[in-house]
Structure formats: C-alpha cells, structure tokens
C-alpha cells in the first residue's frame, strides 16, 4: 500500500544503537496515538529485528542496518529492518521457536516474539547478501480503547 508518511534511517551495527533505534520507531508511531501496550509491542519487535542484524548478520564485523517505517492508511504501521550481512540459509527453520545458531545466552525466540507482538511478519533472505524483515502493526489507538 502507498505510504502516507515515511522515514528512513541507517546506522552502524553496534549494540549501543539497539535502544536508540527502537525508540525512534516508537516516536514515529506516536502520531497514531498508540496505547502504552502498543508502543511496547513495537519497541520489542524492532529490538528483536535490530539485535538479529547485530549478533547474526554482522556477527564478526560492523555493518550497516537500514530501518524504514511507513504509515499505510488504515492506522497500520509498516516497519522494515534490513541488513547486508550473511543472510539465512533456511528461513523457515530459523523462524521456529527456540531455534538458534548462537550459544547459551540466546533463547532462539526473536522471530516468535516479532510474530506475537505484531499482526504480520515477512522475512526475505538471500545467503551471502542479507536479510529483510517487514513488520506490520495495526494501531487501534487510545481513542477507540
């Protein structure tokens, strides 16, 4: 759907940027007058997508992360998080809850969280080229309750 309002942002894949990037998307979403719960949902899903770029896509290096967000009418926010990192061999498998390729401190829960905190999740990935994650979130807003 055509965007009514949109922003784009790119930044280095450093963990210190996790907090700032989810806050930016939440601030953009504020124009839809979201509930506190909806803001938390958005921040959580964005944090998962961005963290995956940092810990997986650019595992042993620092690369660039690209975020865009758009309002598409019907009070829906479309968020895209993209990297030019290592890509994912088997997206279906990667999206299974508790599946992780990284050791003991990762739960393998990122995609499951993105799925449960948004209305729709699309993942496209090309091994060696990068990954693009698109999240759709409909904002009911505080008016409608």
């Amino acid at each position: 759907m055509k965007a009514e309002n949109e922003f784009r942002l790119s930044f280095d894949s450093k963990s210190v940027n996790e907090g700032f990037s989810r806050a930016v998307v939440a601030a953009f979403a504020a124009q839809l007058d979201p509930t506190i719960e909806e803001i938390t949902d958005i921040k959580t899903a964005v944090s998962e997508a961005v963290t995956n770029c940092i810990v997986h896509a650019y595992r042993d290096t620092v690369g660039r992360i690209y975020i865009s967000a758009a309002l598409t009418g019907d009070n829906t926010l479309r968020i895209n998080v993209r990297d030019r990192g290592c890509g994912i061999e088997d997206v279906k498998k990667a999206m299974e809850p508790l599946y992780t390729t990284l050791g003991s401190e990762r739960a393998g829960l990122g995609f499951a969280v993105m799925e449960s905190f948004t209305d729709k999740l699309r993942v496209r990935s090309v091994p060696g080229k990068g990954t693009s994650v698109t999240l759709y979130k409909k904002i009911s807003g505080r008016e409608q309750g």
């Binding site: 963990s15 210190v16 996790e18 907090g19 719960e37 938390t40 949902d41 921040k43 959580t44 944090s47 998962e48 963290t51 940092i54 810990v55 809850p97 508790l98 003991s104 401190e105 990762r106 739960a107 829960l109 990122g110 499951a112 969280v113 449960s116």
Partner: protein, 108 residues
C-alpha cells in the same frame, strides 16, 4: 549498574533495573554470575520490578542463569514481571525451569 545484588543467607536476589536488551545483558550477566559463584545460593531470585523494557535477551538471561545455577543445584525464581514480560517468558516455556510471578500492581 543495571542490576543490584543482595545476598542474605542462602538466597541471592538480583534487582534488575532499566532496559534489558542484548546491549545491557552482558553486564547484568557478569554481575549475577559473579555473585552466584561467590555465594553458591540455594535460591536465586531475579526481580523485574524496575525493568522498563525487555526483549528476548531477558529470556536468554534467565536461561543462562539457570545453567550457572544448576551446576550446584540452586533454585530459580523470576518475580514481578509485567504482563508483556510474562508473555515473552511463557513463549519460551520458562515456567518449566523457574517459578515465575507477575507484578501485583499493574502500573507497568
């Protein structure tokens, strides 16, 4: 520090503070693991009262501490979760490895 540690008897309580993500989790993890190795508690309680944000890194933190703790058979409690945090913990089945409780007042 995003965590304060209180050791009393055979119990260690870690009061987590602020935002838990991949960035902050490594400092929190180090502090808790140092205390666990030092006191070898029979119960480790992770208190989420003052946590303002958490993603799946907060779950990884619990799973990792479960492993540290099970080296000497300690019990794990995760307390005062917000509704959203509770939902994320349940997605991972954390209730199978720890006692998890919701925050009583629903301010968060």
């Amino acid at each position: 520090m995003p965590v304060k540690i209180l050791a009393a008897g055979s119990r260690v309580t870690a009061f987590l503070d602020g935002e838990i993500d991949h960035h902050s989790a490594s400092d929190i993890r180090r502090e808790i693991d140092d205390a666990v190795r030092k006191y070898k508690p029979s119960t480790l309680k992770l208190d989420y009262s003052d946590v303002t944000f958490m993603d799946s890194s907060g779950v990884g933190l619990v799973m990792g501490r479960f492993r540290t703790l099970s080296a000497f058979g300690g019990k794990l409690i995760v307390s005062n979760l917000s509704a959203g945090e509770y939902k994320i913990m349940r997605l991972a089945g954390i209730e199978k490895i720890a006692k998890i409780t919701l925050k009583e007042d629903k301010r968060k």
